[in-house]
């Protein structure tokens, strides 16, 4: 029976990975297409307005801009698959290297934000869900609602004001590699991660609360009561695992929003991550860098959703036998 289930899981995982590959191809087409049909001549951008038409034409020729778009796409895609995303028009450095330099900082920031959000949100949501319609529930709801309503950069400003300016306990900006200096790394990531994770935390708290309330009404909870299981075990052993499933889905989807949050938060905290890189690339019309960062962000988003889907299948035994699409 066990091996049958494992085989089923492998099939399910294979299907999800196949879907991921197809989706990534789609993303690459869209990214490349949008960046390349945007108005603005790359050659003009590089050489400036006063360049002579001959020089512009020569540069286009050497950059291969005169070739049909689909040839350029395949060329680019081939490069991406071998780890070559071209060179940044602005910095002259290979795009891949720029991204590899910046990605760990952003991943650390996003990971920290998710960890903070989940560890706070689940217990809070459980307390609120269990103590429905009491002051505890009410307080949690108000805090959560405020958290969702205000944008993350606002929390960034508040946190800088309180912890960096007023108490001077945490640095207001910068980044230290946690692999080199763990304490310094954590100190630097604390404020941006908190401001980034606050909205997610609020969202997850509300989700956990409503999901738990729903599960506590389910038939299996009544059965558990009828067999004499304590209320504590009913919540933690029975209801919470089921209540966590929809929360997990939300986490997966929210990671996408987290990355748009990162673009702004990294500006606010002068944090040298991928978001800042993408933002600069956008300002500079650095097309190769834009393509590279967007594709990277999309890949990270899809990978995290893949992980969530697989985790979901582990937590919910019904998923794999669902068959079909």
């Amino acid at each position: 029976m066990r091996s049958a289930i494992d085989a089923q899981f492998a099939r399910y995982a294979a299907r999800r990975v196949g879907l991921l590959v197809v989706s990534l191809l789609g993303v690459s087409v869209v990214t490349f297409g949008i960046v390349n049909v945007l108005p603005g001549d790359v050659a003009l951008l590089i050489l400036g307005n006063r360049a002579s038409p001959e020089r512009l034409e020569a540069l286009r020729q050497s950059l291969g801009l005169n070739r049909p778009i689909w040839i350029r796409y395949l060329d680019w895609l081939g490069g991406v698959l071998t780890g070559d995303m071209g060179e940044s028009l602005r910095f002259g450095d290979p795009v891949a290297r720029l991204i590899v330099q910046r990605l760990p900082a952003s991943a650390f920031l996003a990971g920290a934000a998710v960890v903070i959000a989940v560890t706070v949100a689940i217990p809070l949501g459980v307390v609120a869900g269990q103590a429905r319609n009491t002051w505890k529930d009410f307080t949690t709801s108000v805090v959560a609602f405020t958290g969702i309503s205000l944008p993350d950069f606002f929390w960034g400003l508040v946190l800088i004001l309180v912890f960096a300016e007023f108490f001077s306990v945490l640095p207001p900006s910068g980044y230290v590699n946690p692999a080199v200096d763990p304490i310094g790394g954590l100190r630097h990531v604390a404020l941006p991660a908190l401001s980034l994770g606050f909205a997610l935390m609020a969202h997850l708290t509300r989700m956990t609360r409503s999901s738990l309330i729903e599960e506590l009404r389910a038939g299996y909870v009544r059965l558990a009561r009828s067999k004499g299981v304590s209320e504590r075990d009913i919540v933690y052993r029975h209801a919470l695992r089921n209540a966590f499933l929809p929360v997990l889905t939300v986490i997966g989807l929210q990671i996408g929003f987290l990355f748009s949050g990162i673009v702004i938060i990294e500006q606010v905290f002068a944090y040298p991550g991928l978001g800042r890189l993408a933002f600069q690339a956008l300002l500079n019309r650095d097309t190769t860098l834009i393509q590279g960062s967007v594709l990277t962000i999309a890949t990270v988003f899809m990978l995290s959703n893949l992980i969530v889907d697989l985790l979901y299948a582990v937590l919910d035994p019904r998923v794999q036998t669902g068959g079909g699409a």
Binding site: M1, A218, R222, L223, K227, G228, R241
Partner: protein, 714 residues
């Protein structure tokens, strides 16, 4: 919170309530139990001063229609009432312990070691993310404090005991890997884990097929004997009660109206409500064939709303024998003077014999429908609807599976022939999963058939283009099983009934308005219902709206997909009468899909019995049912609870097999109680004409005819 009962009632004498049995046999005494639900509409008196008792080893049936307060009563006994419900009065005495006064921990221990409960819907009652072994082991642990490994071993024993094959391996499976009947067995295993004194079974077989129901009832009865436990058995099905219960308490609108030993209560009901219920069922059971197919005896109206207070007998409005006296206060449940084992809550219980339920059929005018109805009666000898080799296969595989190889499709409908004559009703019966609903949908082309043809009055339905199909929809309509989900919740009744006429452009605006009024009258509703939304109607009223909607385009053929299976007995009878009236008036043709053989037997001219996508037996109703020749038909009939007492029951093992992997030869052979031998596994049986019907079974072949023990078939 007021602890006062909601109506004026006299206290019943405590001493008389326990008359009849020696007190040491008494396990549970419930007195004046009152449970309310706080809702936005006000306080609902779901359990309104209920008295009953249960002796050791006894099965007490708590019967009544939905909304009578049976489940709320059962849950109140275990204090399993959820918010916004609240037990506000009365006493639940379990061997001298007052359950209502137990502390939280005391209550937990009471539930863990003294009681067990089985619930109605097995699919939502087990935790989907926990293996069944752990769920059973948990019950063992709470009851007996065993170690985890010992509890796990014990759980496997329990699963084995309730009849889960290969229990040790299956204990590691999750609930979704079990069939409905097996899930209910797992829940029974959990309920008996503590070897409880009291088992509360809340509609334990309602969600199951009749064959599976028979298995579960047998299991419960065996366990009762082995463990010496008492069962509080909640059901709306009087057949089940008659089958399994020693004593019965009949509930109506939150109160027990009559209680007593099952046998005498059924043979000699003392409360007019009990009498009416029995009458509506018996008349379904009695009638066979069109000759004696009279209208059913029905209790008109519906159960009163339980909000607020009552100052009359709750049944007075529907009672054929109510007098002035009945309108003063609700009567107490009191022992019957001539029969101390029985109690009844009726001022006029001595006159129950004279009270009669009659059904007056008043012809309602659907004048505009007759122009199309003319000439329907005589279609010559040709059937009005005919299917030939109708097939519907579902391909459930995804692109990857298809790439890996050609998978077996789900053979939901696998070549069926049905003929329906003008003005007649054909029944299609079988267990759930046999493909009967799919067949009906394919017949109407609500889903595209894979193969075969459907003909309606010389029009090929399967070949019709979209325009032709549109006009065919006027003639071919359907009424769905669940009226609640088939009526648009955001439209009023008026809009729902009118919409088909708008879509088909029938009549002028004014005509349509008139016709809506006529239709709503024809289905027994009145104009006050027109502006309501579906959720404001009862289940029976919703089904009436569904019928009115189907009639709106003036069809000739109506497919009735389990039209009464979601409804209470008394409402069922009302709807069946309505359908019979409409058929008579408009010469309608019905295809009735049902799992309820007694309804089919009462309503249908011809019956087709379906198993795993094929028709195994068909013919005139009397010929098919009396006597049943095909072993499957025989088993289905035999599984109906409570019809005949003391008859040897055939309990079919297992479930309907997976239709994507059908057995070789005769599809029924793995479950067949009369399997001859290898021939059944090898050869697909051909159809044999016997006694005016057609049967697909090897037993009908001459060389095997001797194998049939016709004596047992009678």
């Amino acid at each position: 919170m007021s602890n006062e009962p909601a109506y004026t009632r006299r206290r019943s004498d405590e001493s008389t309530a326990s008359a009849g049995t020696p007190p040491d046999d008494r396990l549970l005494t419930v007195s004046d139990l009152t449970t309310v639900f706080h809702t936005e509409e006000g306080i609902v008196n779901a359990v309104d001063g209920v008295d009953f008792h249960l002796d050791r080893g006894e099965i007490l049936g708590l019967v009544g229609e939905s909304g009578a307060g049976k489940s709320a009563t059962a849950r109140s006994v275990l204090r399993l009432i959820d918010d916004p419900g609240e037990i506000v009065g009365g006493r639940v005495d379990f061997e001298g312990t007052d359950v209502r006064s137990l502390s939280d921990e005391g209550l937990r221990e009471f539930r863990a070691s003294n009681t067990g409960m089985v619930f109605q819907d097995p699919t939502t009652t087990l935790n989907p993310t926990m293996t069944v072994g752990r769920q059973v082991a948990e019950a063992v642990q709470t009851a007996r404090g065993l170690s985890r490994s010992a509890a796990k071993r014990e759980a496997v024993d329990l699963l084995d005991r309730v009849g889960i094959p290969d229990a040790a391996a299956r204990a590691n499976d999750y609930p979704h890997e079990f069939s409905g009947g097996q899930k209910q067995r797992v829940i029974v295993a959990i309920a008996i884990a503590s070897e409880p004194d009291l088992l509360v079974a809340d509609e334990p077989t309602t969600a199951l097929d009749v064959t599976i129901q028979a298995q579960i009832l047998e299991l419960l009865d065996d366990l009762r004997e082995d463990l010496g436990m008492s069962i509080l058995f909640i059901t709306h099905d009087l057949g089940v009660v008659r089958e399994i219960c020693d004593r019965v308490a009949v509930m109506y609108a939150g109160s027990v109206v009559e209680s007593g030993p099952a046998e005498s209560l059924f043979s000699d009901p003392r409360h007019p409500y009990t009498k009416g219920l029995l009458a509506s069922i018996n008349s379904v059971d009695d009638g066979t064939g069109p000759a004696d197919r009279d209208r059913l005896n029905v209790i008109e109206g519906q159960m009163p709303d339980l909000t607020g207070t009552t100052d009359a007998c709750k049944y007075a409005d529907r009672c054929p024998g109510a007098t002035e006296e009945c309108r003063e206060a609700h009567p107490d449940l009191e022992p019957v003077p001539t029969d101390p084992g029985r109690s009844v809550a009726c001022y006029r219980h001595e006159h129950v014999g004279e009270m009669a339920y009659e059904y007056d059929h008043e012809s309602r005018s659907l004048s505009w429908q007759t122009d199309r109805a003319d000439g329907r009666g005589d279609a010559g000898d040709e059937p009005v609807v005919e299917t030939e080799g109708l097939v519907k296969h579902f391909d459930t595989s995804g692109p990857i599976e298809r790439f890996l190889g050609d998978p077996e499709p789900v053979r939901a409908v696998d070549g069926i022939d049905i003929e329906i004559d003008a003005g007649s009703t054909v029944g299609l019966v079988g267990e759930s999963g046999c493909g009967k609903s799919t067949a009906a949908r394919a017949l109407l082309r609500l889903i595209e058939p894979t193969d075969g043809s459907v003909t309606y009055r010389e029009t090929d339905v399967t070949a019709a283009g979209s325009d032709e199909l549109r006009s065919l929809r006027r003639d071919l309509q359907i009424v769905f099983q669940d009226p609640q989900s088939s009526l648009n919740p955001r439209r009023t009744v008026r809009q729902i009934v009118r919409r088909p006429m708008d879509l088909h452009g029938i009549g002028s605006q004014g005509d349509r308005a008139d016709r809506v009024a006529e239709l709503i009258d024809a289905v027994g509703l009145d104009t006050s219902h027109l502006e309501r939304y579906p959720h404001e109607l009862s289940g029976g009223q919703q089904q009436r709206v569904g019928i009115a909607r189907a009639l709106a385009v003036n069809p000739e053929v109506i497919v009735l997909d389990e039209p009464v299976s979601g409804l209470d007995v008394s409402v069922q009878a009302q709807i069946l009468n309505l359908l019979a009236d409409l058929q008579e008036e408009l010469d309608l043709v019905y295809l009735l899909i049902s799992h309820d053989l007694s309804v089919v037997e009462h309503v249908c001219d011809r019956v087709a019995v379906m198993y795993l996508g094929q028709i195994v037996e068909h013919g005139p109703t009397e010929a098919v049912f009396d006597p049943p020749y095909h072993p499957y038909t025989e088993s289905l009939l035999s599984a109906i609870p409570g019809l005949e007492q003391n008859e040897e029951r055939i309990v079919l093992e297992g479930n309907v097999p997976d239709p994507s992997n059908v057995p070789s030869g005769c599809r029924f052979h793995p479950r067949c109680p009369r399997k001859i031998g290898e021939v059944c596994e090898r050869e697909d049986p051909t159809d044999h004409a016997v006694d005016g019907e057609t049967i697909g079974c090897h037993l009908m072949r001459e060389e095997y005819a001797d194998e049939v023990d016709w004596g047992s078939v009678d």
